[in-house]
Amino acid sequence: MTSVLASAQGGTRADDVVLDVRDLRTYFHVMDGTVRAVDGVDFQIRRSGRLALVGESGCGKSVTALTIMRLIDQPPGEIASGEVWFDGRDLLTLPADQMRAVRGGEIAMIFQEPMTSLNPVLTVGDQIGEAVKLHQHLRDREAFEAAVQALRDVGVPAPERRVKQYPHELSGGMRQRVMIAMALSCRPKLLIADEPTTALDVTIQRQILELIKEIQERTGTALLLITHDLGVVAETVDEVVVMYAGRIVETGTVEEVLLEPRHPYTRGLLSSIPSRGKRGQRLSVIKGVVPNPFRMPPGCKFEPRCPYAWETSVQGEPTCAQNEPELLSLGDGRASRCWLHDPRFTGRLRDYERPTAGAEEAR
């Protein structure tokens, strides 16, 4: 799979890549068995690149981010295999103290819930100041000034006053700005934003996204955006990795994936977005639910919900229900984990390219 992606990324030279995740597998051993939350994920982010991990709840996107940061509790978690190359080092084998220097210093993270991600008993300035004290070895006075500057950079009004306030005195949007200020205070090379706008109301969402984008462009940090919101994806990133049940199902540039989705799952996601053009019609949904993590289908993980899945006809031919497809390169950096893109099934692919006909037939 590594080779597929590496060749898919074609001209990218190794030193252009800030983060290279290879065959990452994170399992959780719990009472009822083992959950393969992340099961063989590969992707790369270029320096100053912007990539989104997309998928519904429980598909492993957040776990992927936490694994990169090595913030998985072990046990019950286990990083079963994989490499996370960041600036020439494999983060998964880095000693704990060096990893701490990477966290916050070189890779920063913004969490989903600004309401709970700030410590209620420390002032905003203390929390931002802690990051710069740790990584830039500033004194208290300098750290305080750095905190004020960081707040000013993210557009917090009256930063000199805000810096002395406690989180409960700030609104949700303000708190998320504080989180962003904290994340960016040490000029990280990679910013991981885990659903940064999900907990905010819609008007604030836009401001926060604009802010992240503006800062990303200004500072040249790379961005790994984790979201289930394809609208956010369209506005913010260049490349998209779609995940389903712990696996990557489709990759490509944002235009390609959103305008010409190849994998049935991505298609389903896109067609379930409500739009003005579809007023009065029933919302289209993906049938069924995410598979039970303890009883994953043996073949393609999306097969039980896939309108295009087919039963076998020829002896020895792979079937959706029994054989899991590889992530197949489609050229130009695109890849899709679907049998439809196997050369043997070009006939079926033709039906797929005529979506309405294919969908009707499948029903």
């Binding site: 966290r103 916050g104 920063a108 306030q165």
Partner: protein, 326 residues
């Protein structure tokens, strides 16, 4: 239009504020933000019994500090070393004999001023109670914090140690330890109470850490690269302060009463030191002769102190509860 600003503080309830704004629409309201401790103080001062308890406790502290300078006799002073009397004098305000003035009467045998004994007893009780509590809070917070934060096998081992220590009857353990380990001076009694008093507290702190370590802000701190030790001490511990303060307050009362108890039984502070428990013990022989004041005043001091501290602890519990409103 007159520019007027109203700061909203404890002095105005939301209803009063609304009324005010109806009457004076030209007022501009500025919300005054209060920190955790200011909010807690607002709640505490509405709690009358707790205020009274705190006043009592502060009075005790004052007496322990400045009292010895005002009492008639120093506690170790024996006014008439060559004569032993077999009945102490009652308080002056009962007997009418004001030479010397005896607020709480005088002991039989050595004719010591009971006020002096009680005041110096307050000093010892307070030092032992607060000192032992500080020792047990430090041990209990670190032990419980480490166990709760790291969890896993470390937590199991540390908590099984606490469990097995808790199966021992602590008070008797303290009696035995007091007899064999301590030399009967107050620092060793304080140490013994401190070293055996942290078990319950460590369980409390562990349970708080178990839930707090799952909070997003702990993950956020780890994502910034903060070390485990710093997360425990700087990020989680301050969040547990409220329940720890309440437990510590109640523990001071517990140690004071426990110290009086073991001293009364003769296993605590050496009898030459006038702790409340010791004074009570020596009064026993003379109770039948009607020397009630010898036992009454130190006993009353214990009751008042423990009651005051417990009221204060209850008030703190309400005041520091983050779910409590105003």
């Amino acid at each position: 239009m007159a520019e007027r600003t109203v700061a909203v503080t404890a002095d105005l309830t939301p209803a009063e504020l609304e009324q005010l704004l109806l009457e004076r629409p030209d007022y501009e309201v500025q919300l005054e933000s209060l920190n955790q401790w200011q909010l807690a103080w607002r709640r505490f001062r509405r709690h009358r019994l707790a205020l009274a308890g705190a006043a009592l406790f502060l009075a005790l502290v004052a007496i322990a500090i400045i009292g010895p300078f005002f009492v008639h006799y120093d506690y170790y002073e024996i006014p008439h070393p060559d004569e032993l009397v077999y009945a102490g004098r009652p308080p002056s305000w009962i007997s009418g004999d004001w030479d010397p003035p005896l607020l709480m009467g005088e002991t039989a045998r050595l004719q010591r001023d009971i006020l002096g004994l009680v005041v110096n007893g307050a000093r010892l009780s307070l030092v032992i109670g607060v000192g032992a509590t500080i020792i047990s809070v430090v041990i209990g917070a670190v032990w419980g914090g480490v166990a709760g934060y790291f969890g896993g096998w470390l937590d199991s081992v540390m908590m099984r140690i606490v469990d097995s220590l808790l199966t021992l009857p602590i008070l008797f353990l303290i009696l035995v330890a007091g007899k064999f380990l301590g030399r009967g001076d107050w620092p060793s009694v304080m140490l013994i109470f401190g070293l055996f008093g942290w078990l319950g507290l460590s369980r409390l702190v562990r349970s708080l850490f178990l839930s707090l370590r799952e909070e997003d802000f702990v993950d956020a701190a780890r994502a910034v690269g903060v070390s485990d030790g710093r997360i425990i001490l700087r990020h989680i511990l301050p969040n547990t302060l409220s329940p720890i303060i309440v437990a510590a307050t109640l523990s001071v009362a517990g140690v004071i009463i426990g110290e009086a108890f073991v001293s009364f039984l003769g296993f605590g502070v050496d009898i030459t030191q006038p702790t409340w428990g010791n004074v009570l013990t020596s009064s026993l022989d003379f109770l039948q002769q009607g020397n009630w004041w010898w036992a009454f005043f130190p006993g009353f001091a214990i009751v008042l102190t423990v009651l005051g501290i417990n009221f204060m602890g209850d008030g703190l519990r309400d005041a520091l509860d983050p779910r409590a409103r105003i």
